[in-house]
Symmetry: C2
Subunit: 150 residues, 2 copies
DNA sequence: ATACAATTTGTAATGATTACAAATCCAGAG
DNA sequence: CTCTGGATTTGTAATCATTACAAATTGTAT
């Protein structure tokens, strides 16, 4: 949701992160892609824009972003991590048929309170798994997909 | 929560699983351990009882149990998977200080309905991360612990 | 005892992530 | 402008959980 070309740079500056070309480009990608991409997907997507990009840079940059609250890392299944540029806490639905990860808007009472049973909450991860609305209307799965560790 | 020595055997039989010695012993361990153990923890715990045990057997057996609803597999962080013998859906709290995984009893409206936004729900994973009640009352962390991928 | 299928086991392969050091970049000093 | 030190980026190797696969073992029916 960056509206102007300078958006990524300004976001980085407000967080005290030096806005290098790599960081701006990576941030733009993770903010624009609403698919909760994996490292591999981001790497393939970014290679044209950053021909020298290394996966190590992706890992370290995304960890930097996550530590500053710019992105969140999802461990929705035991395979590859996924990155979400929509940083506000929200729940996710993983479709076991097409593999899509869909944002959910579910009110979580515990989140508001900031604690459960006296335990202080710093992160909330709500994961639902099943068959998405779109896949239910088809008889066959759209994309035969191997879910990791399935 | 097996009350008699034959409990594990009977549970396996009711699920149509041949109750071998390994399976009974593994099932007993995962039902009795309420710590959401990793494969490695289960392996170390079971080695005295099953000296010939291989990790491959643990992986395949726990996957068999999970597919029959006897246990659930948690992906609460991107490191090792954890196994839960308490199969009824419930939420979890991971303490970033001591590493404990604590069961929570939180009502989830979406779970009752069986769907969200038209997506059919088959699994629910509610993960909270933070500092548990016990660790908050101590100034120092009890066990300096390396959280995976931290 | 024999044969056969299921189960268990050991080893190798896979694949994501991390560790680490060399290469590169870049802002400031002179 | 040139030099320089620290931050950043990159490439390669190591780590580690998990899976693949085939051999060994087990148990049961004939
Ligand atoms: Mn999301
Ligand atoms: Mn539990
Ligand atoms: Zn789908
Ligand atoms: Zn704790």
């Amino acid at each position: 949701m960056i509206t102007n070309p300078e958006g990524a740079r300004e976001i980085l500056l407000t967080r005290g992160i030096k806005p290098t070309y790599q960081r701006q480009t990576i941030l733009r990608a993770v903010l624009e892609k609403r698919t909760h991409p994996t490292i591999k997907a981001l790497y393939d997507h970014l290679l044209p824009a950053i021909p020298t990009l290394s996966k190590t840079t992706l890992y370290s940059t995304l960890e930097l972003f996550a530590s500053r609250g710019l992105v969140s890392r999802l461990s929705i299944d035991s395979g590859e991590a996924r990155y979400d540029g929509f940083a506000a806490p929200h729940h996710h639905f993983l479709c076991e048929a097409c593999g899509a990860i869909i944002d959910l808007d579910i009110a979580c009472p515990a989140a508001r309170r900031g604690q459960v049973d006296g335990h202080k909450i710093k992160e909330i991860h709500g994961y639902f798994k099943g068959v998405c609305k779109d896949c239910q209307s088809h008889v066959q799965y759209k994309i035969p997909r191997r879910l990791s560790h399935a």
